[in-house]
């Protein structure tokens, strides 16, 4: 069992030595992740874990990858994507150029889903999808666009539920248990590390998706990040959050108008 004070010590080390700042993450979840890893890697004591994190940069990578949560899927919450298709994309379709930011994109399933939507709306040729995450390992996977074939049945069902009418398998080639998604989709993607805690805005976007990332932050950090999104959105740009995330505790709430039932807001000015 790891104590609260030990977590503080570890977080201090991570910041001092590597510049990773996890101090404003949701404590209950973070503590559970660290305790889980501590058990998984069979450390005999907290001191051993601390030593390893401080001195072994290969282990540090594992540590960061394991305490952040990378779970994701294609067309996760199909009705959300349906709303993107039906309402959001048509309203930005007239723009000469469309910029989308996936903040906390994990292994990229969300980005490929978006590229498929854009392609089906005939907008992909004039779009650019910026996909960022703090974790370089997941970005490496995202770049490849290769997903396990065992999940594709679920993804294909999600796709259909999201209003997709094409043959989903036309978007990838299956090979040795894996599905490689079309290069045409990936061509419009830019992958880069970006830490929402410490990095600044880097462009202006028509649509920002940050789904199931804010749940790992405390309310102060959520508010800071939401302000970053506010600054990074074009006038009348859209912000999309995860199914159980909200603007209701944030200072920017009044600058946004919610869209029907899905977690999508539109910047007012």
């Amino acid at each position: 069992m790891i104590e609260e004070e030990e977590i503080d010590i570890l977080l201090n080390d991570l910041f001092d030595i590597y510049g990773y700042d996890f101090t404003n993450y949701s404590r209950a979840s973070l503590k559970r992740r660290i305790t889980r890893l501590y058990g998984l890697d069979k450390f005999p004591s907290f001191a051993e874990l601390r030593y390893r994190v401080r001195t072994d940069s290969t282990y540090l990578r594992r540590f960061v990858e394991e305490i952040t949560v990378n779970v994701t899927e294609m067309f996760r919450d199909p009705l959300f994507y349906k709303c993107l298709r039906a309402e959001v994309l048509p309203s930005i379709a007239a723009k000469p150029f469309i910029r989308v930011w996936h903040a906390g994109c994990s292994t990229g399933e969300e980005v490929y889903s978006m590229a498929i939507l854009l392609k089906e709306a005939n907008l992909l040729h004039k779009s650019l999808l910026y996909a960022t995450d703090l974790n370089p390992e997941v970005l490496e996977k995202a770049r490849k666009g290769i997903f396990g074939l065992n999940q594709l049945k679920q993804y294909s069902e999600n796709y259909i539920e999201s209003g997709g009418t094409k043959d989903f398998s036309s978007y990838y080639t299956a090979h040795y248990g894996q599905a490689k998604f079309d290069e045409e989709l990936a061509q419009k993607m830019v992958f880069s590390t970006h830490n929402l805690v410490s990095d600044r805005s880097f462009n202006e976007f028509d649509l920002i998706l940050c789904r199931n990332v804010l749940i790992y932050f405390d309310k102060d950090l959520q508010d800071r990040v939401l302000n970053l999104f506010y600054e990074s959105l074009s006038p009348l740009g859209y912000l999309a959050l995860g199914a159980k995330e909200t603007l209701k505790f944030s200072t920017i709430q009044s600058q946004f108008k919610p869209m029907n039932k899905e977690k999508i807001w539109r910047k007012i000015d």
Binding site: R27, S29, R32, N212, L214, I215, D218, T246
Partner: protein
Amino acid sequence: MEENRLTPPCRAVVVGGSSGSIEVLLHLLPALAPRVPLVMIIVLHRKNSSDSTLLDILALKSALPLREVEDKDPIQPGNIYLAPADYHLLLEKQQLFSLDDSEKVNFSRPSLDVTFESAAEVYGPALVGILLSGANSDGTNGLTAIKKAGGVTVAQLPETAQAGYMPQYAILHTVVDHILDVAGLIRFLNSLE
């Protein structure tokens, strides 16, 4: 009972259930009339669909205000909270909820163990954990954590459960203070102080 007088006042109740537990809740929720404002948190294994039918059914029956948790919602006495589908539900020391979409635990998300363990950290001895009908072993580790923190553990009488495996598993593998049928559960909850 002598030992009951030693238990500190209860501030929160976590209820966990799987198959067969919704029926129990439909009896229990309308009959709730606790003497003190409690926090009640319900975690159920449910299909990972976004449909709100379950919430509607439970909210309709509940004597107290019942809603599904969103991230960082404050925890307020007098309310009943339902864990949303497809997220683990955690409690923060600042009296608010956090959600977490990490790996399933016991093939489940939400997992009863995760919420029970987290609630035990926040409420310590002022927590009651109740395990209802179900067909897997989720919840037992959670009850162990509650017991270890000084709280009170309860299981539905397995013979009265549609799926007796889950409460039975807890009774066999951890310390359960009270084993009750539905009427007993209602009496127990309404007499908490």
